[in-house]
């Protein structure tokens, strides 16, 4: 990438030296400190744009800067994933402030999102599950009901909806809180007291989101399946008992499902929490709520969909 070598002077510009290159643009004799500022400014990306190599350099610099800008968040996420996993197994990490933050966030995410998750699960059951049962019965494929519900509802829809719910209800709140602390300087004050914001805020919140992702995911699945059964039974689409219905669903699951479905809930929760915390902590001084929220939401949605797709490919 061309902008990886900002100090390289243009090779095609004749015999210009660094100082001379600026003297022309500065429009006269510059003071030493101004020259210094101009030097750094030029180093970023100011080759002679009139020549072919200059144009190529500008183009490559543009591609490089866009690529680095996009990959930057991914690299930070990879680093913090390792950081959270590594730090979470160290007993010294779990000091009382970290435990307090974990408990508080868990209560907010899992407790606060419980009703919303159950309602969404119920609505999914009303719309999706009952319709699936009805049409499978209509097509004479009732035996496939269990496997279809596991595949569609539990494995695909539940992680996405739970991830979106957590993102919208708690993730955006975490992002705003941490973003405002970062831009307001309170994070710096914490660091001045030796309180690592990663340890106090990112780690416990991410793990609380992880536990909540699993909990809410299971509750969502149970609520949607139970509601679907009730509606189908009431409409006469099925006549077997609820235990028999759930038995069909459970037996339709493969051994891999018992690992991968909970894992999907866990990974969605983990990455949504981490993504929101990291987006908040990496906010710049120019950021405001109106810039942080759309960016955080789109990142969160991307995370939810990426996890869902990656797991589906493996399955």
């Amino acid at each position: 990438m061309s902008d990886d070598q900002p100090d390289t002077p243009p090779t095609d510009g004749g015999s210009q030296r660094d100082g001379e290159a600026f003297a022309g643009t500065a429009g006269g004799a510059a003071r030493p400190d101004e020259e210094c500022v101009a030097h750094y400014a030029r180093d970023d990306s100011q080759p002679n744009e009139n020549t072919l190599s200059g144009k190529i350099r500008v183009f490559l610099a543009f591609i490089g800067s866009v690529t680095r800008h996009r990959v930057w968040f991914l690299l930070i996420m990879l680093g913090t994933i390792w950081g959270v996993l590594h730090e979470s197994v160290r007993p010294n990490t779990w000091r009382r402030t970290v435990r307090y933050e974990f408990r508080t966030t868990l209560g907010e995410v899992a407790g606060g999102g419980l009703v919303a998750t159950l309602v969404t699960g119920t609505l999914t059951g009303l719309g999706g599950v009952s319709q699936a049962i009805y049409w499978l019965g209509f097509a004479g494929m009732s035996k496939m009901t269990g496997s279809l519900l596991v595949t569609v509802i539990v494995r695909e829809i539940a992680p996405i909806l739970v991830g979106v719910l957590m993102l919208g209800r708690s993730g955006m709140l975490a992002l705003t809180e941490l973003g405002m602390l970062t831009t307001g300087g309170q994070v710096k004050s914490m660091q001045a007291e030796g309180v690592d914001p990663f340890l106090l805020l990112v780690l416990p919140r991410t793990l609380a989101f992880t536990v909540s992702g699993f909990t809410l995911g299971i509750l969502f699945s149970v609520a949607s399946l139970a509601t679907g059964y009730v509606v189908s039974r009431a409409s006469g689409a099925i006549s077997n008992s609820i235990w028999s219905f759930f038995y069909d669903v459970v037996t339709a699951m493969t051994p891999a499902d018992y690992i991968l479905i909970p894992l999907k809930f866990i990974v969605v929760g983990f990455l949504v929490g981490l993504g929101c915390c990291v987006s908040g902590l990496t906010a710049s001084s120019e950021d405001t709520v109106s810039t942080m929220l759309p960016r955080g939401f789109s990142r969160g949605m991307l995370i939810v969909m990426a996890v869902s797709v990656l797991f589906s490919l493996k399955l």
Binding site: R96, E177, L181, Q186, A192, E193, G194, V195, D196
Partner: protein, 245 residues
């Protein structure tokens, strides 16, 4: 020992109390264009000493305090606290060491994240195993000295500026810090906190803590000038010593 982290560090620090608490040796900031001039800064602060640093720009004072707390990268020189070079310490050890510094800063340090009581005691709760009762008792004692009827448990946003100023002082002195970096709280408050502030300052110095007191003018520390060990001025041309009059 109540310190939760790094017993070796604490032990090392205890052994070093005979030497300088804080020592800057030609410390030059890496960051260009910062509030602090990119000049070598040299000073030494022994246990129990009180250094007054006058500066017109309190942003510069905050940055100097950050430098003393090992939060800024250096181009040259060293900053040592309790004999330990900040640049040689890992993150965990550096954070543990920062837990032994009491700061009163102009930087915003109250947030809506926790209750005021928790934020006031956050450093001690995070870095030590001291019991809640013990911590609360100390916070109440300091709070009463600064004019608080107890420990506020509301969100800081619901408290008055005067109460926040009192709590900032309590937060700074809580936990018997070894070094106090005080960006003059007396200048900005409407209430008179000079008596409890000086009382706490003297108590901390008697215990062996060292103090750097940043101020815009000498009017705030004039009452205390007989007890001041040295006076410096922080300006564009660096850190300069000033004769106490």
């Amino acid at each position: 020992m109540s310190q939760e982290e790094s017993p070796q560090l604490a032990g090392h620090a205890m052994k070093r109390t005979v030497g300088a608490v804080l020592e800057l040796s030609g410390a030059t900031l890496l960051q260009e264009g910062a509030a602090l001039p990119p000049l070598p800064l040299t000073m030494r602060l022994m246990p129990g000493e009180c250094m007054v640093i006058e500066t017109r720009d309190m942003g510069r004072a905050t940055m100097f305090a950050d430098l003393c707390a090992g939060m800024l990268d250096l181009r040259a020189g060293t900053v040592r606290f309790l004999g330990l070079d900040w640049s040689a310490l890992g993150d965990r050890r550096a954070n543990a060491l920062r837990g032994r510094i009491g700061r009163i800063t102009r930087r915003p340090n109250w947030s809506g994240l926790f209750g005021a009581h928790m934020q006031m005691m956050l450093k001690e709760l995070h870095h030590t195993n001291r019991s809640i009762e013990d911590l609360t008792a100390e916070a109440v004692r300091l709070g009463e000295r600064f004019g608080l009827p107890g420990i506020p448990v509301d969100a800081p946003g619901r408290l008055s500026d005067a109460d926040l100023a009192r709590m900032t002082c309590v937060r700074g002195f809580l936990g018997k810090p070894r070094l106090l970096l005080l960006e003059d709280p007396l200048e900005t408050t409407a209430v008179d906190l000079s008596t409890p502030f000086l009382e706490s300052l003297t108590e901390a110095r008697d215990r062996g803590a060292s103090v750097i007191w940043f101020g815009r003018t000498s009017s705030t520390w004039r009452e205390y000038r007989r007890a001041v060990t040295s006076q410096w001025r922080l300006a564009d041309d660096g850190l300069l010593t000033v004769r106490i009059r």
